[in-house]
Amino acid sequence: MCGIIGYTGFREARPILLDGLKRLDYRGYDSAGLAIIGTSLKVYKDVGEIATIEKKIPAMKGTIGIGHTRWATHGGVTKENAHPHLSCDKKTAIVHNGIIENFQPLKETLLKKGHIFTSQTDSEIIAHLIDDEYTGDFQEAVFAAVAKIKGSYSIVIVSEHAPGKVFGTRKESPLVVGVGDNENFLASDIPAFLKYTNRAIPLDDGELCVITHNTVTIYDAHKKPLKKKEELITWDIKDAEKSGFPHFMLKEIYEQTDTIHQVLRGRLSEIEETITFTPDVEQLLATNFSTLHIVACGTSYYASLVGKYYIEKLTNIPVEVALASEYRYYGNHNPNALVIAVTQSGETADTIAVLKEAKNSGQHTLVITNVIGSTATRVADSYILTQSGPEIGVAATKTFTAQITTLFLLALKTATLHHTLEPADTYTYIIQLKDLSRHIRDVLQRNDQINTIAHHLKDATSAFYIGRGVDYPIALEGALKLKEISYIHAEGFAAGELKHGPLALLTTETPVIAIVTPSPTYDKMIANIGEIKARGSPVIAIAEDKDTEIDKHVDYVLRYPCDTTDLSCIVITVLLQLLAYHTANLRGCSIDKPRNLAKSVTVE
């Protein structure tokens, strides 16, 4: 996802735009640019991170402007392809996030009319299209241009033709208005303006917004003015800072003792032995659906696989887990299925598309997300928030454990609603959930040991993670964490699958991380470890504190403190996060901004 900001107000726009872009830049970008209107419209753009570009940007006077940080989807990473893009008369500048699907035919038409393009991006056509529609009323031209484009977008526009105004519109890509005093903002995410105001209005699909220094006017797709309520943002800009931790990722790993409590907060009663969700969620879970479909992408998909294990174990309701990008085209729209979408940002394009189609085909929909007011919460019938606060590190950590915990709560609630669980078992699970935080705290105390073991991983070119049952998706997630931040090739496998292929890849230089929990498959895991040891690969076992057997079979043991088999996977996740973190750190990797990755993927 690209970062977008627009400003109009009483202050110099340049420092505000740069500051805003820096706050969005944590997501990892490859180029950036600004357009500011002073006496005339001026643009500066370049390749690189915003902090590097900043020094090169000349003084640009003016109190109105737009800015952009880009993560390339169309066209290479070049200065020309960086935003903002200009119209031919250089009086109108636009920034864009998303994809214009019909840009080819539009571009051809515009070329015929004599427009000259300077980039290979789909975005540039927007500036030319508005210019082409302009006949004296700039706002009308914006409306007309937006009506012609197809695809997903958030767009912010300034023009010398419309002094003092900034225009914004969105479809399937986030855009939020920040309402200040005598100044207003438009941005793709709230942290961009949170330093100046905590009053925000998220725009909905198809809406168009015009801000001046003291007005905010929002229109629907039919140009009808809308009244929309401001939301007060209660989290602070400080949330988006590192608090002395060397990386956001490490800070967010340490936050998990707290975020786990936040997930449970107000939802769990030890005295009454109950689980509570909002009435609409409870009503949905009480419905007599025959099956559950969980759809997600990336890390959320792995959390969903754990969720499947929980729901099937506690409720006996069959669960199908699918990648949103697959389900969207190949999924079956069983009308008796409850569709649960898991998305951290609530903006993941493929996941939202699934929700929309599920709704259209009459299925009930529920979303588990971290972001209130996100597109997903507005599309689905109901939503459950993971209440974890903003996550800055591109590698998901606290939101992953929060998703698993939420899915466990959901399984437990569904089980009590469908009477598939003994009350005594419900109580045991409630206590186990409440004890999770202290087990995580205990794992964090073992940070130094984990760092020591990371030395055995850091020089590997390839590493494998294995687990069984609920630990299989944890192996997948552990491998994902390692590969995305340390760039070591890593794969997770169900331990039983090793001999059906992956064993061929093992060498004496390929470390294998084996998650060995005290479960009915413990002996099978030991046998699998035997197969690996026979190939001479070093094995790092993740084992419970009380396990005295494991040392005989492996090279290194990392221990975790938790005797509850179902939820121990959350504690193990924290351990694997630290292992990946330290490995990446020892390799000198850019942990918070891994190459080629962005935090939330709002393109398909």
Partner: protein, 402 residues
């Protein structure tokens, strides 16, 4: 009289462990010990802010992540963390801040509670050097200040006997030139700040003294109970959460967000209950009880003058009196602490306590039902204690008692 420049920065020392406060400091630095549901360090930060300073350099070391994680949402101050890798001494700790301090500043230990008035007085002292002092009945654990002709003549660090009457709180106003003195001493292997200050005195520089109003130190685990008592009396009542019918509350009571107090509870303030707690039916809380966040107290339990830290579960029909229960502990039903005046052995010394004392339990202990603990017993961290046990001896950390 010449003008003295404004003090804009504070250096807070928070790198030490606090070994005498084990088991509680096994997993967190001393500055993070909770008093009336707030870490000591937060009292220091709040006082600095109220005294008009916005910028803090916090020297961290032992278990620094616990501090950084807790204060991630603290917005009243700009906090810059500086890591002291080896805890060699207070002078060495201060030296870590050298690159960040170019003007007069104040220096505070992060592990003593202090009020903003005292800091304000210190800042406003018309002198380059000033120190906050306090009258103390047992000065031998501190730096004792001696005067000659109304001027400080000597600071004696931890004298063997209780001599003198004023102690150094370790809170100073200092000019940036102190770093030159620190450097010079460090070159000779001297890392104790009081020794460096002594060289300043010996060089005929004048050091003003100011009396501190509120200043409190925690030396031993049982001090937590007394300090908690004093600080909880300073709080105003504030109630959120859900209170069921037939709950009696007298005196100042603080109840946090998402906490539920069930019917029949009898609460006498000062009492503080954190966020997201469940206080079961017919629980009685007497002064001065502090309960952390995410705590569940099961029905018919009595708690008096105790500190219950975060994430604790206490079983029904229990009695917790004059005790400290560490983070994440679980007790079964009918858990009893016997409280009495007693003698406790610590660091090969016998301490006779003049007030009743119950038990002090480290983090993450799991205690089964019907366990009774004798007065003054310290139970370590991560212990497991079987049902129907009577605990009469101190228990070291990570021990199973069956």
């Amino acid at each position: 009289m010449r003008d003295y420049p404004m003090v804009k920065k504070a250096v807070v020392l928070a790198a030490g462990e606090g070994k005498r406060l084990r088991p509680f400091t096994e997993t967190m630095p001393k500055v993070m010990l909770p008093v009336a549901n707030k870490p000591i360090l937060e009292y220091v930060f709040d006082a600095i802010r109220e005294a008009g300073i916005n910028d803090v350099l916090c020297i961290v070391g032992y278990k620094k992540e616990v501090i950084q994680e807790y204060f991630k949402d603290y917005t009243k101050l700009t906090i810059t963390y500086i890591t002291q890798d080896k805890q060699l001494g207070t002078g060495h700790a201060l030296l870590q801040a050298q690159a960040h301090v170019k003007e007069p500043f104040i220096l505070l230990p992060g592990d003593n509670i202090i009020d903003s008035q005292s800091i304000k007085k210190l800042i406003d002292t018309p002198a380059d050097y000033a120190i906050l002092i306090k009258k103390h009945p047992h000065p031998s654990k501190y730096g004792v200040i001696f005067f000659k002709n109304n001027k400080i003549s000597q600071i004696v660090e931890k004298p063997k006997e209780d001599i003198g009457e004023y102690i150094s709180t370790g809170i100073y106003k200092l000019p940036a030139s102190i770093f030159l003195d620190l450097d010079r001493c460090a070159a000779q292997g001297i890392y104790a700040l009081s020794t460096v200050i002594q060289t300043v005195i010996d060089n005929q520089k004048k050091i003003n003294t100011t009396l501190a109003d509120l200043w409190m130190d925690i030396v031993y685990p049982w001090d937590l109970i007394h300090v908690n008592e004093v600080m909880s009396h300073r709080l105003n009542a504030a109630i959120s959460g859900t209170i069921e019918k037939n709950v009696t509350m007298k005196g100042p009571v603080c109840i946090g967000k998402d906490t539920k107090i069930y019917a029949g509870c009898y609460i006498v303030g000062p009492a503080i209950i954190g966020d997201n707690c469940e206080i079961g039916p017919n629980t009685c809380l007497f002064p001065s009880t502090t309960i952390g966040n995410n705590v569940a107290i099961h029905p018919f339990t009595e708690i008096r003058n105790s500190v219950i830290m975060d994430d604790v579960h206490i079983g029904s029909n229990s009695l917790v009196s004059h005790s400290v229960i560490g983070k994440g502990c679980t007790t079964g039903h009918t858990f009893s602490t016997l409280a009495q005046k007693t003698t406790i052995e610590i660091e090969d010394e016998y301490k006779h306590l003049t007030t009743p004392i119950g038990t002090m339990i480290g983090e993450d202990c799991v205690i089964d039902s019907h366990v009774t603990v004798h007065p003054g017993i310290i139970i370590g961290r991560k212990c497991t204690i079987g049902a129907m046990t009577k605990i009469q001896q101190p228990i070291p950390s990570e021990t199973n008692v069956m």
